[in-house]
């Protein structure tokens, strides 16, 4: 019976905008790690008589997002007051948008070009973040402490349609949206610091029926928790339905520790926020020219970038996917590819998502903090690709670049890693190797062709890794002649 129940999932994502100042006052928006209540003023701490002034940059960022999500943009948008009481809401209302949000009816494509699914975007609107309340014990008594630093940070709300059918799809929605916001430069996407939070709506529906009771899971701040909370919630609802227990419409929270959703409050009555137009602020108007101008200036989106990288650099879909997951990495890749010529794009891609990412991961650092430039990185790949140094030496150079920030040429020089292709010098080494390894030579002469590789390896090792393998191979073949006819056992 329960097998025919299909999940119906929608996400509401809140994203803090990367503005310098707060939404309605001049306070700095860079409040992370600041001492409590050091980033607030008369306005954002709710002093009587203080009035809000719209941060136009935040409006523009929201407009950019709405356009990037293919929304319809209203010519006139406005702010409303959302009334509710909470200690971390200093005015007793939140300035938000209710009736006329900045964008409506857009969409977001998930997955790759070939296999994408489309999720509707119901609306994109702008509001202000609230403060933070913490409940602690102070001198033996339980108290609540309020920090208004976060209060008034521009917060964009993106409401997705309930078009998603699986926890994976929901996770994909969240991560794809995050990537888009980061590409737009409107949000830093820092999930741990709460720059993006997701609320989930989930219900189960039987085929051809209306969705069942809707449950909301609030405040998820990681991809994993979005997926896990949905897996848990879908299972919980399935069990309840199959056991014949009625589900209640409610708001639940996600407990990482218990790996479960937990009931928060039952909605016996709908919240009545008594919205009405914010009288302290003028309407926001968007002329067709301004919308067109912003639409024109939108940066390349991740999906566009993936197909362009594949087209221009001839890299695989998978490589494009990995590189574009991080805007900084993909930009780094492009700059490196330019400097790496004539190395191929795929070579640069392999170095980028291979050794570079591994080293970044091991050192827990980011592209932005690399001590060397993309051009340095590109020239290193060119050295390997042009056989100026060996592949192994290349890796060694990259590690040194990580440590010292020196250019690849300097390191190659300093560590004496440049490839030896001097025939005479190499012939000397080859001769020594042949004389020291009569057994291997005999194998070769008896027809075991692969024995040549053993000698090749020993020669390179004897050269300190610098010997050019193709030069060595031709010297070896020259010295030993062709392998004899195969005898008792096949080669290899």
């Amino acid at each position: 019976m329960t097998g025919e129940l299909v999940p119906v999932i929608g996400l509401e994502v809140h994203a803090q905008l990367l503005t310098q100042s707060k939404m309605f006052c001049g306070c700095s928006a860079a409040y992370a790690n600041a001492a409590p209540n050091t980033h607030c003023c008369d306005l954002c701490s709710g002093m009587p008589g203080a009035l809000p002034v719209i941060n136009q940059r935040a409006v523009e960022m929201t407009l950019m997002t709405a356009l990037a999500l293919h929304c319809e943009v209203a010519q006139i948008s406005k702010f409303d007051r959302k009334n509710y009481s909470y200690p971390d809401l200093p005015k007793g209302y939140q300035i938000s948008q209710y009736e006329q949000p900045i964008g409506v009816q857009g969409w977001l494509d998930l997955g790759d070009e070939m296999l994408s699914t489309r999720c509707g975007i119901i609306r994109v609107h702008l509001e202000e973040d609230t403060g933070k309340t913490s409940h602690v014990s102070l001198d033996g008594s339980d108290v609540s402490l309020v920090d208004y630093n976060r209060c008034g940070i521009p917060l964009m709300e993106i409401v997705g349609a309930p078009d998603l059918k699986s926890p994976e799809a929901a996770r994909d929605f969240f991560s794809t949206l995050r990537q888009i916001l980061m590409y737009l430069g409107v949000c830093d996407g820092n999930l741990q610091e709460g720059s993006m939070r997701a609320d989930l709506n989930v219900s189960l529906r039987k085929a051809d029926r209306e969705p069942g009771v809707k449950v909301e899971v609030k405040n998820l701040n990681s991809f994993r928790s979005v997926q896990r909370a949905l897996e848990y919630e879908i299972e919980r609802q399935r069990e309840a339905v199959s056991a014949g227990h009625p589900l209640v419409q409610e708001t639940r929270g996600w407990s990482e520790a218990r790996d479960a959703t937990i009931a928060q409050r039952t909605k016996e009555y709908a919240d009545d926020y008594r919205y009405f137009p914010e009288p302290d602020l003028p309407l926001i108007t968007f002329s067709a020219d301004r919308v067109a101008e912003i639409r024109q200036s939108l940066p390349e989106m991740p999906a566009e970038k993936r197909s362009r990288l594949r087209r221009e650099y001839g890299i695989t879909a998978e490589a494009a996917h990995v590189l574009t997951a991080d805007l900084a990495l993909s930009d780094f890749f492009e700059a490196a590819a330019l400097a790496a010529s004539p190395a191929t794009g795929m070579e640069v891609a392999n170095w980028s998502h291979g050794d570079l990412l591994r080293l970044l991961h091991e050192s827990q650092s980011e592209i932005a903090s690399l001590p060397f430039s993309a051009a340095d990185f590109g020239r290193l790949i060119a050295l390997v690709s042009g056989a100026r140094i060996s592949n192994a030496a290349g890796k060694q150079v990259l590690e040194a670049m990580f440590e010292t920030g020196e250019g690849p040429e300097t390191i190659v020089e300093r560590l004496n890693l440049s490839q030896m292709d001097d025939n005479e010098a190499l012939t000397e080494i080859v001769k020594t190797v042949i004389s020291e390894n009569p057994g291997v030579v005999t194998d070769y002469r008896r027809g075991k062709a692969a024995a040549l590789n053993v000698l090749l390896g020993k020669t390179i090792k004897a050269s300190g890794g610098r010997a050019n393998p193709s030069v060595v191979r031709s010297i070896l073949e020259n010295e030993l002649g062709l392998p004899g006819p195969p005898s008792e056992s096949p080669a290899g």
Binding site: D42, S45, G46, M47, P48, G49, A50, L51, P52, V53, I54, R81, N83, S85, P87, P90, K91, G92, Y93, S144, V146, A270, D272, R274, Y275, F276, P279, D280, L281, P282
Partner: protein
């Protein structure tokens, strides 16, 4: 010059004496402080006297004058309604909940007045959060009318009006949401202007009805209103609703000439509910204008009757939200409770007076799910019609002449128990507030020794015209020169009121 005479100088007279160094600002300020000492025990116009600051500001003003830095308000004693935020000076808004609140910043209007050299004598009494028409809703004490201590001075800027009428200050600032400058001006025989919405910055006013609130001066002459308005008007980047329009020289517009001006007399403002004495005074005033050569004509503002009920939907809705911040968390009164919700409700229960609670409930109700369309949305629609009424009428006339209040000053306690009767005090002032247009009240006669006010209403940003019309009347009458008797109340509390 008699000491008393210093208290009744106009701004022009005082600044003339100051600029010629015949008197000093310190003398003027000391005279004001003495006057407060003499009569405020009876009037209760002042909530807080700022004597030390006043003398300091007066000395600074004298230094500026000595350097020849002359501005029209330099060294002039003033009062501020206690709704204006004043840095380091308590700002109670007439409420217990803000009794201990000291702002960290000045309202923009206050900054501008201080920059112009005005001297702050004190913060004046008001109805709590500007909700009322008698100043009886002050959480601290009622203010009495200088013309009759058993009567109210009007409200909510009753303290400012009484202080000006009694000569405690040369001028005072009030705020007007539905008539709170004009109605007390009418009841105390003073001049009070509500400017066009957005003409003067609201930054730093404790908000009541944000789409209606507008600060303005209360003075003893139209010319003084023009001087003060010139100092406070103009765009303020901190108030997004302030208008970016040139501030004209309001004084030079006072030509005394109204010949050929078309003055409309709206039928709806002379309907039932008006006392016969007020009607009589208004009829005489209309005669004065006719004699001055104005073209008077009857006009109609059909939406007038809906103004008041609409006002009592929109203003409480905005007030409900504006007052939500008074929760005891950050400033003002805090009554502890078992949890934060109990703290909120106990703080608000103790801190707010009954009229404030009534308006919060009203505002909550009209915005509630299921009622929003029937009340709030409809009220906004009617408000648009009221505005259009004015726009239409100003196509045919230059300004409107109406009564300011339906009756002269009423007795203390007379309307306290009947909020609807109290609300009707604002029936003639509310429509201009709803439309956001400028309106001034000037003295136009007496009814049994109580002042009667005449209201001149003009189109948006038509302050110059409104003041010109008011000034012409003032020039040919002497009602504004009459001084209140300031007698003691003959009730039981004579001599004991403080």
């Amino acid at each position: 010059m008699q000491r008393d005479e210093l208290n009744y100088l106009s701004i022009a007279e005082a600044s003339d004496l100051l600029s010629r160094r015949e008197i000093s600002s310190v003398e003027l300020t000391e005279a004001a402080l003495r006057r407060v000492e003499e009569c405020d025990g009876r009037l209760n116009a002042m909530l807080l006297l700022t004597s030390d600051l006043a003398l300091l500001q007066a000395r600074h003003a004298d230094e500026r004058l000595a350097r020849g830095e002359f501005t029209p308000l330099c060294g002039i004693p003033m009062g501020l309604k206690d709704i204006f935020s004043t840095r380091s000076i308590p700002t109670t808004c007439g409420s217990r909940i803000l009794e201990s609140y000291v702002p960290q910043f000045n309202a923009t209007a206050v900054d501008r007045l201080f920059d112009a050299g005005a001297v702050l004598i004190g913060k004046t009494n008001m109805d709590e959060f500007a909700m009322g028409s008698s100043t009886e809703n002050s959480a601290f004490f009622p203010t009495r009318n200088p013309w009759d201590p058993e009567r109210v001075p009007g409200g909510s800027s009753g303290g400012s009006a009484a202080a000006v009428a009694s000569g405690e200050v040369v001028f005072a600032m009030g705020t007007d949401t539905g008539g709170s400058i004009r109605q007390p001006a009418a009841l105390t025989g003073t001049v009070g202007l509500k400017p066009t919405y957005g003409r003067v910055s609201r930054y730093g006013l404790v908000a009541f009805g944000s789409s209606l609130d507008q600060p303005g001066p209360i003075t003893r002459s139209v010319r003084d209103v023009a001087v003060v308005l010139g100092a406070i008007a103009g765009r303020d980047p901190r108030d997004s609703t302030s208008i970016d329009a040139l501030v004209p020289d309001y004084v030079s517009g006072l030509t005394g000439d109204v010949r050929g001006l078309r003055l409309g007399v709206p039928n709806e403002y002379f309907a039932e509910g008006m006392s016969s004495e007020v009607r009589h005074a208004l009829e005489l005033a209309i005669g004065v204008y006719r004699d001055l050569g104005a073209a008077l004509q009857p006009v109609s503002l059909p939406m007038t009757e809906h103004g008041l009920s609409t006002y009592y939907v929109i203003s409480p809705a905005e007030a409900m939200a504006n007052l939500a911040r008074f929760d005891g968390v950050r400033y003002g009164l805090c009554e502890r409770g078992a949890d934060v919700w109990e703290m909120f409700s106990r703080t608000r229960e103790t801190g707010f007076g009954s009229e404030v609670k009534r308006r919060i409930l009203l505002g909550t109700y009209v915005l509630s799910a299921g009622y929003y369309d029937a009340y709030y949305v409809k009220a906004q629609r009617v408000r648009t019609l009221v505005r259009q009424d004015f726009e239409k009428v100003f196509e045919t006339v230059d300004a409107l002449i109406t009564p300011t209040a339906p009756t002269p000053a009423f007795r203390l306690g007379e309307k306290v128990s009947d909020p609807l009767q109290m609300y009707l005090s604002d029936v003639y002032t509310v429509p201009a507030s709803m439309a956001g247009v400028p309106a001034v009240s000037i003295p136009c006669g007496f009814a049994h020794d109580l002042p009667v006010g005449l209201q001149v209403i003009g189109p948006a940003l038509g302050e110059q015209l409104v003041l010109r019309v008011a000034h012409a009347f003032e020039q040919s009458t002497d009602y504004h020169l009459a001084r209140p008797p300031l007698r003691e109340a003959n009730t039981a509390d004579v001599g004991s009121d403080s």
